[in-house]
Symmetry: D2
Subunit: 340 residues, 4 copies
């Protein structure tokens, strides 16, 4: 089917490409003409003029936004007046589900349909397909099912595009209508919250392995340093790339994230190209806030989020307070930088 | 090659079976004759008499123990006097790596070789193969490589048993010599620590999804209950089995544990057959202790462990202390059992 | 000075009483006449009619609200139309500081002044005085300083009411102008967040002491139960009331919360009158959310909050997911209810 | 009574001084003569020769060790052969309670008595008195009660030394016989574990207050930075020294640690003399391990400990793993150092 796509960054361009390979007609729009060049060579119709973009779409129009969350509202402000009742807007980016609820309501008053789609798969989605979590009206989501089926992994085979059997769930194909507006991004938000937890679990475990040689290192003996009681228990110099690799094979903790971790460690066992300043892009925070609103305990997901905050130095002042207290009550003097 | 195996519970029996299918000769021993019956039908030689078991093995003997950690030492006390210098004992269970270090040292004085093997794969290992993390002397581990290759997933194809190319890592085949004695169980210990973290991440995320309908429920209004400021944000009744299923398809959080979770939710979306009292079998605790000894921060892995302690009611007294304090300073009276 | 007070629950009545003892003229209002009876005997003017209440106050009026956060807005809706430009409304309850910012702005357009006051001290405040954290316009706060000084501990001595020296901080007296509207409740919010952390620290520590006899108890030996490696290290039957008492005397962890804890344990060492279902009344959640917005790591404060969620059974579903996973991959069967 | 004291660092010298002021006869020993000079001026008998030290003590001798935990065993090795049956050794330092159990047993075979004393109070103990948590034989502890009473706060008044009424608890005086050997240091260990939690609670809360101005700062807008949705909620520039001060007055969170914190912030509101590398001296780790052994959940105490590990850079490798994963699946590039 025909689909308009606005926003041709890494994710949007890959998705447009995947859709065209599966026979869909893409009309694309980006403010930077160079972002569209490759797609145009592959058959997309492209224009930097938003009005022209809209006019190229058959009614009811379906417009997929693949934009940073922070600019969606400003693009909508320009796009919506150009659309007609019955048209559909799909937000496939990382919007906060609160915004979906608000937008869905606002657009409904104008006769427009809004669909929120949480998209997972990263840069590998082009080949592997994208996992799609969808919120919106049931019949609108069904109308768009050819697009979802082609983006999702179940539609990998161009010769045999997957279509869900009537009445059967589409989940095994890799896309799912999760509920009303906001449901798609809510599920994606929690997905990312879980992702933080999984990543932290591997990272902490690998850090334990990496320091299993602590008994081989020399240690200071002073009142500020806890002695290592049993150095004979920490005499291992583990080969992390090999261990990550073997865990991929038949273990309970095998996963796609572990596949990627093994790959990264194989490239550079010490990960020396990274500083360890870990960004967080919103969903992890929103997950933590949703859990608080629901009074659901999330010790692991919250800890994973806060580990990222700490990685960026944001605990520094709290730590200074601790050192100041220790200085006050015990006369403890801070030790200079050195681990353990 | 010939292998003796002691302990034919679920894990041991499956491993013996897998080895025989791949052409190895199994001599098995268990104190319960009925545990050996099936294996004997499949070609194993079995005996309830330990002395006979030993006599049936060709030197240098290789004896694999697949026993609860708590009984390994008592079995060793009976087995060791029957063995000869050059024989090999493999502990494939869940021993604490401290014990491996001790045992390796003790057995060495008797001319015996000790190999510790952390085994992951659970009940599915019979078909999928086991991920093996191995500690011990290099040449002894190499001597046993036909056994390891057959147990590991890389040896899945009976027609083409995988053998690591000389000088190449065996990790892609699913087994790895990780270091000296204790290294195998150390790596397996951390593996399980990570497992706890991964499991908790999924469990917490699903709990958030399950409570996304909190805005649909009625709430008490009193000074002891935090009001839900935005019930309109929590109006979702999510289908957890479908969501777990769709996440398996192309998402960043796909994993084998997620496959199992989707399966369990599909069987029973409310998991009503479970009470939620979660055992912990040692490795998670040992991982946490190793991290403390190494001064490695493990907020996620520790939280996952403690969540299990709490699931068994072990926080009850601490919670009573909190209620008592609130009663003291604010005259707060505990609310009767009801969630919020 | 003259002060109107609306809301004569436990906190409001005590505060009115303390103010009268220090010479202030109180006009009180509550919808329940019986709430005012005692105060009237002590000299307060009281009325159940809001209009009469307002008419009894001299301009510029000062009206202190001591109400549950959830009803403040509805009371304001009725009160505000009765007031005149220049009048002052003080919210001394536990409002969310977001609401203060909004209300301050709204009331300003009507020429009214709004002051938010976070109040700590609980039921003991009547005698000990209240710690007051104040947000609002500087000159309005100064105008009210006789009231604040009398409520705060520094004003304990009726014969010598404390007044801050000009240009000196009032903090040592127990009240502080913290900033613009919302500042008072922001500081109080964080105060309560800290309170959760302090309480949890004591509660967890006492729980460790209480279980220091675990080596004296018998233990199951099975694959689902981690063996206690060194029962000889856990042979202590500690007297918790005595320990809490001794810690009050000269230790680094002495505090008012510890005083209360010792008192509660002295009354009932097993705290058997409590179930351990711990409410949370909002500020702890808001603190956690503020920390997330600021990207400030709060592992301790968040853990304390989530411990409360767990105490009310809100982790149950997550724990069932864990048990279901364990059943899937390892065939683990849940153990019946029994601790450890 | 007469007491021998070995180890005259900051703690030991202060304790000796406090005891002499209350009429006890001190015989002191340190390998550095200059450590004893001041005490000798105040009336102590001192010698650098251990044999002479022992000979100066009347039988049954009472020898108090105030030494770093790491050197206690080596001092005992030299001291014990010089003692006679019935003599008493008191370890008032920060020994691991496991060592107390072992030492108590070993010394008993020689007819010697061992008493373990956890001591809290820091540099202020000289004036305020020390909180003493005591493990050992009941009659031996009673024999030493004049010493304990003088060290504890209850014995503050030289003119009226506190003595517990017969049959009454000594806890209100500030010392307590907690149980058999190890009990004193076990209770002290948990005391310090709690201390970590309390300290972290204040530190995290102050860090939230300090960053309440985040809405006033400019922010980058990119896909790696979570936008601050409501900058209008974070416009506060709080005066931390004043807030810490006001909290000391009548609030629920008043404590001695808060007194010290207010003092430190008053000296330097930005704590710029500290780097925030926070040591941990053993008890916090041992507390966490005891909790794991007991299966007692300690989310707050554990988080506080791990925050200290992180403060020393020990999470760096784990954070690099996170960045590496993000780079793999999403092509995310690390942002350069800058908070938020």
């Amino acid at each position: 089917m025909q689909l308009g796509m606005i926003g041709l960054g890494r994710m949007g361009a890959n998705m447009a490409q995947r859709l065209m390979k599966r026979g869909h007609a893409l009309v694309v729009h980006d403010t930077r003409a160079e972002s569209m060049a490759d797609l145009q060579k592959q058959g997309a119709t492209g224009t930097v003029v938003l009005e022209e973009f809209v006019s190229l779409l058959a009614k009811p129009r379906a417009v997929w936004l693949m934009l940073p969350a922070a600019v969606v509202d400003s693009v909508l402000a320009r796009l919506v007046p150009l659309l007609d009742a019955g048209d559909i807007i799909i937000d496939g980016g990382n919007s906060y589900y609160h915004d979906d609820i608000r937008r869905g309501g606002e657009l409904k008053t104008k006769g427009l349909h809004y669909v929120d789609v949480g998209t997972s798969g990263g840069v590998f989605g082009l080949e592997r397909g994208y996992c799609l979590m969808i919120g919106g009206e049931k019949d609108v989501v069904e109308h768009l099912s050819p697009v979802f089926a082609s983006l999702a992994p179940g539609g990998n085979d161009p010769a045999a595009p997957a279509v869900a059997a009537p009445g059967k769930s589409t989940a095994p194909l890799g896309y799912l209508h999760c509920g009303a507006n906001g449901a798609g991004h809510f599920v994606k938000m929690v997905h990312n919250g879980i992702e933080y937890g999984l990543m932290a679990a591997y990272a902490e475990g690998l850090n334990i392995l990496r320091n299993a040689d602590i008994g081989l290192r020399s240690h200071e003996v002073d009142a500020e340093t806890t002695p290592l009681l049993h150095p004979e228990h920490y005499q291992y110099s583990f080969d992390l790339p090999q261990i990550a690799e073997v865990w991929r094979r038949g273990s309970v903790i095998s996963s796609w994230l572990l596949d990627l971790t093994a790959d990264a460690l194989n490239d550079d066992p010490t990960l020396s190209n990274f500083q360890g300043r870990v960004s967080d892009s919103g969903e992890g925070r929103w997950t933590a806030i949703a859990a608080i609103d629901e009074a659901v305990p999330t010790p692991v997901l919250s800890a994973a989020l806060q580990e990222r905050f700490s990685s960026r130095g944001n605990a520094d002042f709290a730590n200074k307070v601790l050192s100041a207290m220790r200085s006050e009550f015990g006369g403890h003097v801070e030790k200079p930088a050195s681990k353990t």
